[in-house]
């Protein structure tokens, strides 16, 4: 998964990366020139027996250096303003609207739609169509967080009481990792998410699948898992649409098995990691909101079996 500023896969991050390279080369050149001057000055100073150059001509050279500095800086300021304008120009009226709410320490994702029943709720993973502008409206549920997927755009803070919108567009299909970039408490380090950019038809199929209610359990163990999910602590926090689980304070699990990570990017979603997670989430992500439950091994296996089939 790419989480790099230097591997831009979208138009916004490409604009920023271009500006960065210009700044990189300019500043590298300036650094080398100035350090060369320092080296030469020291060597002359080491070799000198007496002062030779007058103060006036020294000051003239200082003035020249200063003017050059100012000119270079003005150029960089201009480049920066141009890029800022370009970033702001990405707004579009027919963008795909996604509302992302940052919680301690996970991301609630809701795809907007004029008809409420067409809206899709998921968590910690976004799918977006390649080539289409996406508007991500950022909200914060508790403290300040920051939504940052470096391959696609710079970051934007999610501040409680404020709404802010990030406009981006992916130009290459791929899987891009993002991470919270504003210190938000104990598990700021494990508050990641994934953005999957895919061809528009693949995206349509995905979102249609997400609109369905939860996949019904088939085997006896899976049925027992559903029974347990509804009978123990899971229902207090999680939603699984189509079952009795309607809690709203934790990630939506309706299509849990279609996602790639557990615990907001903390572990890959495999059966083994899921088992470890349910057994003791506090050992993997200490301080996070999911308590350690003390379920029996048999109960836990049934729940894992049920969750693993929620594609």
């Amino acid at each position: 998964m790419l989480q790099s500023v230097l591997h831009a896969a979208g138009i916004q991050s490409a604009r920023i990366e271009a500006l960065w390279w210009v700044m990189f080369w300019v500043t590298t050149a300036v650094t080398l020139v100035v350090l060369a001057l320092v080296v030469v000055a020291v060597r002359r100073g080491l070799a000198a027996d007496a002062m030779d150059v007058t103060e006036r001509s020294s000051l003239r050279r200082v003035a020249v250096g200063t003017v050059l500095t100012a000119v270079i800086l003005l150029g960089l300021i201009g480049g920066s303003v141009i890029t800022s304008r370009a970033l702001a120009s990405q707004r579009s009226a027919d963008a795909l609207m996604i509302e992302v709410t940052a919680y301690q320490w996970w991301w609630a994702v809701e795809y907007q739609h004029p008809e409420p029943e067409q809206r899709v709720r998921t968590a910690n993973e976004l799918h977006i169509p390649v080539g289409k502008t996406v508007a991500i409206k950022l909200l914060a549920n508790d403290v300040i967080h920051s939504f940052w997927v470096p391959a696609l755009h710079g970051k934007l803070d999610a501040i409680p009481g404020h709404e802010a919108t990030l406009w981006l567009r992916a130009d290459q299909a791929g899987v891009y990792r993002g991470q919270c970039a504003e210190y938000c408490g104990h598990q700021h380090a494990h508050m990641a998410f994934v953005v999957i950019a895919e061809p528009p038809d693949v995206f349509e199929r995905w979102i249609q699948a997400q609109r369905q209610t939860a996949h019904a359990p088939a085997t006896e163990q899976e049925q027992r898992g559903l029974h347990l999910v509804q009978r123990t602590a899971c229902v207090m926090c999680h939603t699984i649409r189509g079952t009795a689980a309607g809690g709203r304070i934790a990630p939506d699990l309706t299509h849990f098995a279609s996602r790639s990570t557990i615990g907001a990017g903390t572990r890959p979603r495999t059966r083994e990691y899921l088992d470890q997670w349910i057994k003791d989430p506090q050992a993997i992500k200490p301080g996070n909101r999911m308590p350690t439950l003390g379920l029996s091994d048999a109960d836990r296996s049934a729940i894992v079996a049920y969750l693993e089939q929620l594609r």
Partner: protein, 174 residues
């Protein structure tokens, strides 16, 4: 120099109870199943293990209890402590007892006329956090540990500015 180090080690060992952040109870076992609804029992009465509230003076636990109070929808019946469908929790009138283990039992076992039994649904540590928070609503915990105002519209005095309780009074049902 050595005395300084010794004092430093001692202070770290003592720590400050109020500021501990425990992410799980040490014994591990969390969920409890529902227990007896009544204290009536045949034969000689046995004093069941009176549990002290382990988290009463812990600021982190009180803060978590406050968060869970909204998250688990206690506000739905008890409002923010003033009561609506359910009785008020910030006064000194208690139907089923004001001691921590009695509040614990109330939450775990449920009560007639609408209080659900949360035993088996909420792990033990979180129940004790809720117990501690409920105690703080009537001003019964240390003001230095009790939560202050929340980042919401002001509807009540923060818990750390509530008066110490009058002696709790047993009332019947409303």
């Amino acid at each position: 120099m050595k005395t300084l180090l010794a004092i430093a080690v001692l202070m770290t060992a003592i720590g400050c109870d109020r500021e501990r952040r425990d992410f799980k109870l040490p014994n591990g076992e969390q969920l409890t199943s529902s227990t007896r609804l009544t204290s009536l029992q045949p034969g000689a009465p046995s004093t069941s293990g009176m549990k002290e509230s382990p988290l009463e003076d812990n600021a982190y636990a009180l803060s978590e209890g406050k968060r869970l109070y909204s998250a688990y929808n206690c506000v739905g019946c008890h409002a923010k402590g003033g009561g609506a469908i359910g009785p008020a929790l910030m006064d000194h009138r208690w139907i089923y007892g004001s001691r921590p283990e009695q509040i614990y039992a109330t939450i775990i076992q449920g009560r007639p006329n609408g209080m659900p039994a949360f035993g088996g649904r909420i792990p033990d540590q979180q129940v004790w956090q809720l117990v501690a928070y409920v105690q703080s609503m009537s001003g019964a915990v240390s003001q230095y540990a009790a939560p202050s105002r929340d980042d919401d519209m002001k509807v009540f005095k923060p818990e750390n500015r509530r008066e110490p309780p009058q002696p709790p009074v047993q009332t019947g049902h409303r």
